[in-house]
């Protein structure tokens, strides 16, 4: 519909810079990871490291594939993308509510549901594409720097990781709708994510930890997608989104 | 044609328009056959409500001062009946004020006569 096109265009135009910066940051991380592998290993090998260290180093660094997966999905990509998801989500409603643009838009024949849907979709798509594009850059850099084929297996975790990112984006969107201040929305979202991750250190609860989920261990080990995890994430995202939608419908401007 | 509209007067704007048209006809600055601006034109140029202008024009037509020809516009009417008596608006003000001050007709006539003739009238002389 014409309205959706116009609103989508607005969202993408507004977040041009944010998108470029996100891609830039993630690309830098993606490029550095394969390149650093040899460098880090060499550095550690040259150091006078105690026995236990040497074992860990050999195990971790020895297997490039584990190194890649562990650092990309277990750490660098995941932590950074989670923060980006929160930054993208913090102002989604709160900023335009504060500066009056929201009231201006809603005085025209646009439904609140459509407005939120377009904003959310734009953000979710941007974040997912950033995640995918940077992963592809990782693969390309790995292939170019090591010359031993493209590590396609890395992509196995992407669907799950992307869903976690979208879920955290939905969480931040909810806070952006409930709270008037963008910074408060960011802090609330950050706080919630940290708490959930911390709880995830308790063994039986690890399935709720975003970082755990983003590392998609089942997908790595079995080569197949963890359908239960994916379904769970979809349900959580839907619940968060629909709560935000409900809050927006009742909001007084 | 420029109209002087003073919105803060108690006199409604439509009457102000009517009076200025009548005044123009009285003084001869508006002659039979002259075209008045269209409702939209006058509303926009004087920055007043088009409904107000329309009302003024309707009233002027009822008083026989103008006539509207469809498609052509509103024109000052021809014929002597379009020449209104002078000083009507000023007399209206005088009568309103007199009414407010509680001055009766006889008293009012006496005041006017005295002012016009510039000296006490016969009836006053008799009183003294």
């Amino acid at each position: 519909m014409k309205q959706i096109k116009a609103l989508a265009r607005k969202e993408f135009l507004e977040s041009r810079v944010k998108l470029l910066v996100s891609l830039g940051v993630m690309a830098a991380i993606a490029v550095s990871l394969p390149l650093l592998f040899d460098w880090v290993r060499d550095v550690f090998m040259e150091m006078d490291a105690p026995e236990r260290w040497a074992e860990t180093i050999t195990t971790q660094m020895g297997d490039y594939r584990i190194y890649l997966w562990g650092n990309w999905w277990g750490k660098n990509h995941s932590q950074t993308m989670l923060v980006l998801a929160m930054i993208w989500g913090m102002g989604i409603i709160a900023r335009e509510r504060e500066n009056g643009v929201l009231a201006c838009l809603l005085s025209r024949p646009v439904t609140r549901g459509k407005l939120l849907a377009v904003k959310f979709a734009a953000g979710a798509i941007s974040l997912s594409l950033t995640s995918l594009a940077s992963t592809m850059i990782l693969l390309a850099t790995s292939w170019l720097s090591r010359g031993d084929g493209i590590p396609w297996f890395i992509l196995r975790a992407w669907p799950q990781a992307a869903l976690v990112i979208v879920a955290v984006f939905a969480l931040t969107t909810l806070f952006s709708t409930l709270l008037r201040d963008r910074v408060m929305a960011l802090l609330a979202s950050l706080g919630t994510t940290v708490v959930v991750t911390a709880l995830g250190f308790i063994a039986p609860l690890r399935h709720i930890s975003p970082l755990y989920l983003m590392s998609a261990p089942r997908a790595l080990m079995t080569g197949r997608q963890d359908l239960a995890a994916l379904a769970g994430l979809v349900v959580v995202t839907a619940a968060l989104y629909s709560t935000a939608n409900h809050a927006l419908k009742r909001m007084e401007l | 044609m420029w109209f002087r509209i003073n919105p803060s007067l108690a006199l409604p704007i439509y009457l102000q328009i009517i009076r200025q048209v009548e005044g123009g006809v009285e003084r001869g600055t508006l002659r039979p056959g002259d075209r008045l601006p269209a409702v939209r034109e006058l509303a926009v140029s004087a920055a007043v409500n088009p409904n107000t202008v329309a009302r003024a024009y309707r009233e002027l037509e009822e008083r026989g001062i103008v006539e509207t020809r469809r498609g052509a516009g509103t024109f000052i009417g021809k014929g002597s009946s379009t020449r209104p008596e002078p000083l009507q608006s000023e007399l209206d003000l005088l009568l309103t004020e007199a009414g407010r001050m509680g001055i009766g007709d006889e008293e009012l006539l006496r005041l006017v006569e005295r002012r016009v003739l510039g000296r006490p009238t016969e009836s006053e002389e008799t009183e003294q």
Binding site: A6, G100, L106 | P7, V44, A47, N51, M101
Partner: protein
Amino acid sequence: MTDRAAIEAVDVHKSFGEVKALSGLTFRVERGSITALLGPNGAGKTTAIRLMLNLAAQDRGSLSVLGMDTRQHSLLIRRRVGYVPENRAFTPGFTVKRVLELFQGISETWDKELQNRLLSDFNLPPTRKVRELSRGMTGQLALILALSPRPDLLILDEPVSGLDPVMRREFMRNILAEVADRGQTVLLSSHNLSEVERTADTVVLMNHGKAILTGSMEHIKNTEKKVRVAPQGGLPPEVENHPAVISVRSEGRAFLLTVSGDTEDLLAQIHRHNPFAVEVLDLSLEDIFLARSEGDKQ
């Protein structure tokens, strides 16, 4: 009877937490009229407007715009209403052109010719960024956005604030042209009483969340007066307690009465006591506004 009205409010109440913004607001705006919505700050004018557009919902009472209930048919209403808000906010980084394109995209109807004519009349540069526009220019842009969809009802909230007298006049002229051409209804909430007095045919004066005075401009100016009386003795009780008298103030040996309603009967009562002097003072819209807004406090 309701379908003749462009806006009809019946006993509307609205609170925001502790603050009661509207307490039984009742008024009508007739189609094709230019109605002024006046009142001191905090009277509830902006709240009333927000309810019309369903940006917020009333606690109690009914409110309909163009014959449709504001809560049930909000989308339909917003298709036919043009709104110039007091707080004119646009995406700061956008150019004028982009803002116009966005609003065109979200509106059902759009008269591009009218948009372009207004753009050139106002001399708004399409490539200028919104954050670089003066307050007056954002007002002009807001008017273009409100008029281009050719709405049946135009709601303006402090539209000319920030505009110099020339721009103000130009602004009003464009609105008057639309009223003349299409019989558009206009609800104008403005502190700029001189423009209001020229153009409005109906007045709704609000204070403390209610309409304290409504009627045609002509009627209001006929019934709201001040009367200065210098009585022989003190002020007679039939005069002081007359239903038309709103307030009394002493000025040395005379009394200044603020009067609303049947002035003729009051004057008859006054003359019965043979006062030294009686003076009836016509009031401008501003005088009426001040008298009624201050008078309320007593």
